[in-house]
């Protein structure tokens, strides 16, 4: 099972604006994307949320994934740890996916399969793979490295910055370039569109609902659409809480095998 993508989606869009609104439209583009990255991925020093993912295929058939996600920042803007505890559907209930997100090297990922009491290590090189079969990919959730793309400010009209991003390394990336719309007030990314070399729109991620949680702008609902083959995934967050005081040791093998009762019940 490929759970990696889910994590990424959760984190990137559940984020909080770490920076105050910036009045000038003269902000350098590198600052904009850096602020957007931090705004989207580092709300509070930790966070907890119930996430429901509804995957609709091109023929309209639906599947659902439900999970409790715990996140803790090791350093603001840097390393993070994630604990994803699946509750639905029944065949994956109590499965745990855990990630230590690093900067500058591959993440560490673990998968715990309760039926066999098996802790499995998963390689984390393919960041563009589907997260639990959804239309989100791993990088949507954990964030794409800023150094992976060149950035160009296309426009600063209205409430958003429009940034064009071109990958420096084309290998292993399914798109040629992508646009991201970033809210000027919060630096929260609100829309992303991925194009191929011919300019055809491949995939779109849209934030449909945001809410202020404990002073942090927070994504409550977002959607990823496959515009080539059809199908989409809706991601909904409930009971989002920040700064709940997650202990460091939750992100260890101990709690893979025995879920942290106080946080998952």
């Amino acid at each position: 099972m490929n759970l990696s993508v889910l994590l990424a989606v959760l984190v990137s869009f559940a984020g909080i604006a770490a920076f105050p609104a910036c009045a000038a439209d003269t902000v350098p583009v590198e600052d904009i994307v850096a602020r957007a990255s931090r705004a989207a991925f580092y709300a509070g020093s930790d966070g907890i949320a119930d996430v429901r993912m509804t995957i609709t295929d091109a023929r309209g058939r639906q599947r659902q994934r439900e999970m409790r996600i715990l996140r803790k920042d090791v350093e603001e803007g840097g390393e993070q740890k994630f604990f994803v505890y699946f509750t639905r559907p029944a065949d994956v209930a109590r499965t745990v996916f855990m990630v230590w997100k690093h900067s500058g090297r591959d993440d560490d990922r673990w998968l715990y399969l309760p039926a066999m009491d098996l802790v499995r290590r998963i390689s984390a090189t393919d960041k563009r793979s589907q997260f639990v079969g959804s239309h989100f990919v791993y990088e949507d959730i954990s964030g794409r490295a800023l150094e992976a793309d060149s950035h160009e400010l296309v426009s600063a009209e209205g409430d958003t910055y429009l940034v064009k991003n071109i990958p420096l390394e084309k290998k292993g990336v399914e798109f040629a370039w992508y646009h991201v719309w970033i809210d000027k007030a919060t630096f929260m990314p609100v829309k992303a569109e991925y194009h191929d070399a011919a300019g055809t729109l491949l995939r779109r991620i849209t934030v449909q609902e945001r809410r202020d949680v404990q002073g942090h702008p927070t994504v409550i609902r977002s959607q990823a659409e496959d515009l080539r083959q059809g199908g989409s995934t809706l991601l909904e967050f409930q009971d989002v809480r920040y700064d709940v005081g997650l202990e460091d040791d939750i992100f260890e093998e101990r709690y893979l095998r025995r879920p942290p009762v106080q946080w998952v019940k």
């Binding site: 099972m1 490929n2 995957i55 295929d57 058939r61 599947r63 659902q64 509750t87 639905r88 559907p89 029944a90 065949d91 209930a93 109590r94 230590w100 591959d106 560490d108 039926a115 066999m116 009491d117 098996l118 802790v119 290590r121 998963i122 390689s123 984390a124 090189t125 393919d126 563009r128 793979s129 589907q130 639990v132 079969g133 959804s134 292993g172 199908g231 040791d249 260890e252 093998e253 101990r254 025995r258 879920p259 009762v261 106080q262 019940k265």
Partner: protein, 424 residues
């Protein structure tokens, strides 16, 4: 249904009652039908089938709520059991209790899990050196879900968590592997010197169920950066009936076994690599000169697993096994005894490719031993039709030049199986 069945139903009722008394209980399960047809049988109960069964698995998890002592100790109750109707054995019905345990933290730096539980550790993929917990190879070779390769243990597992390393201490009742017995799967019978089924005339003598026969399994482990290192110790009994209690009476038994081992796992060349080694000490034949008792052995393996993109993964493993005190072993053999090799090399490959948003999975697991000249091919295709329905079909193709090797003896159990499951 027997005592275990009644116990299981009782546990389930208790959990349901606890669940109705408050939130904190979840109940899941599945209903599954499975059938497996064989190419060619050898005197097994059915020469056309390996599998024909329905099962209902119920699992319940209860978190103890409130202000009481057990809630403060973060107590969790787990139950899992299978009701089954086995068409292979003329519709025999029964209940198999897989889990019935309580897990709690008596002090912040320790966990206890007591009761029937499935236990796994070690780094191999379907290869086990230091994981000496009981397996069910009948399920494995007949086409049941991988979950059933693991048998549960009746155990108390205590885990200590410290700054420098963590320790698991398991105390458990001995439980033998379920190995081919002739009724469902044929195998090489060392008495009749041929692949045999129901005609097998041998007796497996299990260790008596007494306090002095309790087994110990220890693991000390820690992470070193992104790598995981572990040391293992086991004192108990061989899981397989590999030694002779009384040759004339055709009695096989489970010799006493100690095992010392170590493992390492971590990221390597954009994938995950693992190394594991173990020394299996045959306590009743530590010089290796008793022809009736299996010798000590050295085992080591290396594996590498990688995500190749587009939902395609590949893994390879190499296992080396060496029978120790080989000179003493060969000197002790009598004329006519089977003489096993000193060294065994085993390679495995796993390929997994997913399609259609990971709802269709094609996988191939292959065992191949160049030294034993045998192997076992396990292709499978599964389809997650919805969140509730899944279908799986696959092949079991063991083969070998000789009849007495690990996979060669299974060559008359080639089968194609089909399973459909409804999860709730």
């Amino acid at each position: 249904m027997g005592k275990v069945g009644i116990l299981g139903v009782f546990c389930l009722a208790l959990l349901l009652w606890a669940g109705s008394a408050g939130a904190g209980t979840t109940l899941n399960g599945f209903a599954e039908s499975a059938a497996g047809a064989r190419w060619q049988g050898v005197d097994t109960k059915r020469d056309d089938l390996v599998l024909l069964e329905s099962r209902l698995q119920l699992k319940a998890v209860h978190y103890v709520d409130g202000e009481n002592f057990w809630a403060q100790k973060q107590t969790m109750l787990n139950f899992k059991g299978d009701f089954f109707a086995d068409g292979y054995f003329a519709g025999k019905t029964g209940f198999a209790l897989r889990e019935a345990n309580a897990a709690f933290s008596p002090v912040p730096f320790a966990d206890i899990k007591a009761g029937r539980q499935v236990l796994t550790w070690g780094t191999g993929d379907l290869l086990f050196i230091n994981d000496l917990f009981p397996k069910d190879y009948i399920s494995f070779f007949s086409g049941r879900d991988d979950e059933y390769l693991k048998q549960p243990s009746d155990a108390i597992k205590t885990s200590f968590f410290q700054e420098w390393f963590n320790t698991d201490v398991v105390l458990m009742r001995p439980r033998a592997n379920l190995t081919p017995e002739g009724d469902r799967l044929s195998f090489y019978d060392s008495f009749s010197r041929q692949i045999s089924g129901r005609a097998v005339d041998r007796h497996l003598v299990e260790p008596p169920d007494q306090l002095s026969n309790l087994e110990y399994a220890l693991r000390a482990y820690r992470t070193l950066g992104s790598n995981e290192a572990a040391l293992y110790f086991f004192r108990g009994f061989d899981r397989n009936p590999s030694s002779y209690k009384n040759e004339l009476n055709r009695q096989l038994y489970y010799r006493r076994l100690d095992a010392y081992g170590a493992s390492m796992r971590g990221p390597f060349l954009a994938g995950i690599a693992n190394l594991e080694a173990g020394w299996h000490l045959s306590r009743e034949d530590d010089r290796g000169d008793n022809r009736l008792v299996e010798n000590s052995a050295l085992k080591a393996m290396a594996g590498y697993d990688r995500d190749l993109g587009n939902d395609f993964r590949a893994g390879v493993q190499y296992l080396y096994e060496q029978r120790l005190d080989y000179t003493a072993y060969s000197a002790a053999l009598l004329p006519g005894d089977l003489c096993f090799d000193q060294r065994r090399h085993l390679l495995t490959q796993r390929l997994t490719k997913q399609f259609r948003r990971q709802t269709v999975t094609a996988s191939l697991f292959n065992f191949w031993s160049p030294s034993d000249r045998d192997g076992y091919l396990r292709p499978a295709l599964s389809w997650q039709a919805s969140d509730r329905w899944s279908l799986v079909t696959g092949l079991n193709i063991p083969w070998g030049d000789d009849l007495y090797t690990e996979f060669g003896q299974m060559q008359r159990n080639r089968s194609v199986y089909f399973r459909s499951r409804y999860s709730f």
